[in-house]
């Protein structure tokens, strides 16, 4: 026990994280989860039309995003990136506002479905639905930084089903050719809607593809937030040093159905679903922090209270925002100054 504790202590410190920081990471995961859960409630209450959840992915998202520099680096997320976009700057209110499709929602002003995050102020590229397209944008951003000689790293997220889209291949190859400063994070939750890994990924490993592009491919346990942070931190350093891209495959679990439109009981055994909870990154991280004495009951209580208050406040404020005016739908196709 003592050794474990020591080892664990060493671990976050060795990664350059203070006790406060790991606690902040834990809080970020709690907050993302709470926002996510709240939105399911709002969906059931008919306030939100649709939700596509990040539950189970928070460790991978917070861990990897924590290595990025807000306001300097760029992020091209996907529809499960609640925790990632929040780590990179979006607030709980931003997320909930987007789901309510309010007129002043920072992501799209109510134009896009829930899950389609984006934020120019945060360097977060607007999410679209066709999977994988954002990966090319991340590479393009990295290319632009490389052309201009800027100290900027791009990070992008996608699922293992998506890894089979042709655009991913084109993106990774180009990043490999020019050693562009970009980090690819594949959140492998074992399913693309109903289709399991074995029918999606020839060879079963996404990380194994990296070598074919001349970049390292790392597989990490996505419910181990520090492992994810460590992999991303290293990838970030490589990118900045001109050593090129990295592919991180984070093995995560999808704790919910694909989305509120799906029912995973149609294609997944109850026992399988039950077993997923073991891989929930939140209790795992909590346990680690408790072992280290960083997290205690009073701290946990305080954090949970803070998070609850934050989510309450965020949803209250989000709900109070104005709906978009119908006619506004006509605008913003082209820049204002042109026809």
């Amino acid at each position: 026990m003592a050794t474990t504790k020591a080892a664990a202590t060493t671990r976050h410190r060795e990664l350059g994280l203070s006790d406060d920081e790991v606690l902040a990471m834990y809080r970020a995961m709690l907050l993302a989860r709470a926002v996510d859960e709240r939105m399911w409630l709002m969906q059931r209450a008919g306030k939100i039309a649709f939700i596509i959840s990040g539950q189970g992915h928070e460790g991978a998202q917070v861990g990897t995003s924590w290595a990025m520099r807000r306001g300097q680096d760029w992020m091209a997320p996907f529809y499960r990136s609640i925790a990632a976009t929040m780590t990179f700057g979006m607030s709980a209110e931003d997320i909930i506002t987007a789901h309510l499709a309010k007129g002043d929602d920072v992501s799209s002003g109510g134009r896009q479905m829930p899950g389609h995050y984006g934020g120019a102020p945060y360097n977060i590229v607007s999410v679209s639905s066709p999977v994988g397209t954002q990966v090319l944008h991340a590479v393009g951003i990295a290319m632009a930084a490389w052309v201009r000689g800027d100290d900027v790293v791009a990070i992008t997220f996608y699922g293992e089903g998506t890894s089979n889209q042709g655009e991913i291949h084109e993106a990774m190859n180009f990043a490999g050719v020019h050693k562009l400063p970009v980090i690819f994070v594949c959140e492998n939750n074992g399913y693309a809607i109903s289709v399991p890994l074995a029918k999606q990924v020839g060879g079963l490993s996404v990380a194994a593809r990296a070598v074919g592009y001349g970049m390292p491919g790392v597989t990490v346990d996505g419910s181990d937030v520090l492992a994810c942070f460590g992999a991303a931190r290293e990838a970030h350093a490589r990118a900045r040093a001109g050593e090129g891209p990295t592919l991180i495959e984070a093995k995560v679990v999808r704790l919910t159905s694909h989305s509120s439109d799906d029912d995973q009981r149609r294609y997944r055994d109850p026992s399988e679903v039950e077993g997923l909870k073991e891989h929930d990154p939140l209790p795992r991280f909590a346990d680690q922090l408790r072992q280290l004495g960083i997290l205690t009951d009073p701290i946990e209580e305080r954090l949970r209270a803070e998070v609850k208050a934050e989510v309450n406040e965020a949803s209250r404020r989000a709900e109070a925002r104005p709906d978009p005016e119908p006619e506004t739908a006509a605008g913003g196709v082209y820049a204002a100054e042109t026809r």
Binding site: A49, F50, A101, G103, S108, G110, R111, Q112, M113, H116, S128, S129, P130, V131, G161, T162, N164, Q165, G166, E167, A192, I193, S194, V195, K199, Q200, V201, D261, D262, R266, Y267, D323, P324, E325, P326, E327, T328, A329, A330, V333
Partner: protein, 328 residues
Amino acid sequence: MAELNILEAIRQAMDEELERDERVMVLGEDVGKKGGVFGATEGLWAKYGDKRVLDTPLSEGLIAGAAAGAALYGLRPVAEMQFADFVYPAFNQIVSEISRMRYRSNGAFGLPMVIRMPYGGGVHGALYHSQSNESYFTSTVGLKVVAPGTPADAKGLLKAAIRDPDPVMFFEHKKTYRLFKAEVPDGDEVLPIGRASIARAGKDLSIFCYGYMRFCALEAAEVLAREDGLEAEVVDLRTLRPLDVATVLGSVERTGKALVVHEANQFGGYGAEVAAVIAQDGFEHLDGPVTRLAGPEVPAVPFHHALEDWFMINPSKIVDAARALAAY
């Protein structure tokens, strides 16, 4: 005769064709155990096994290209794009390969295959689950394009598409899937591709439409009859390529006025072709300008219901346009 909705009619057509011809296979994302995100293939996987009802990886280029290869080999693949909005990764295969394999091989290689695509808005799907992108395909020589608006048409035309020696893009309007039930002939009823149907006869003006717009146009025609004493002829084009020019011009000859309605944006939309044909070949019969009523010039349907309502064509917009044209 059974009463079916459009979704059931489509499922039944696939079921019967899988049964009838062992060269038929279904492939796409989640079409197997899950039965498709709309349930169009429900039950087929259990019945025909996981080779003939094949879950593919998440790669639309693959779906179209592998279907093309299978068709070259002699099968009759029915590929599903989960949403029409996600067909673009397959665009190269469809346009460069599938549409012109026969032509480029001087007739040696035909591709008997179908690509089914749920399309259209009004289902809270926003920019990427609502597109009506038929015009990319209707302008592509070598494809046939079908867009049924009733259960009987859906079934009879899907069967025809599966048996057709050439590639057919089959557009299924999502909002119509469960919108209403109607009688579908029992047995092996195959409808010819390339024929429009007169959904409602009338003498005062012609409304040309397809898919969900058939439903809206019929509702509008009721209102026009009731409130204005105007008898609108509603022509459901059903097949968009080839267009049934004879039926279109025949209707214009009778009514003298043409209103072309679709949900996609107007500029360069499919309605432009219908309008242009009428303007050129029906010129002498026209008592008023060929009028188009189409979705607004924005990239696709926005999400918030107020924005979506703003976007969608509905019976009352059709009534307004018809009144203006009738008054010309």
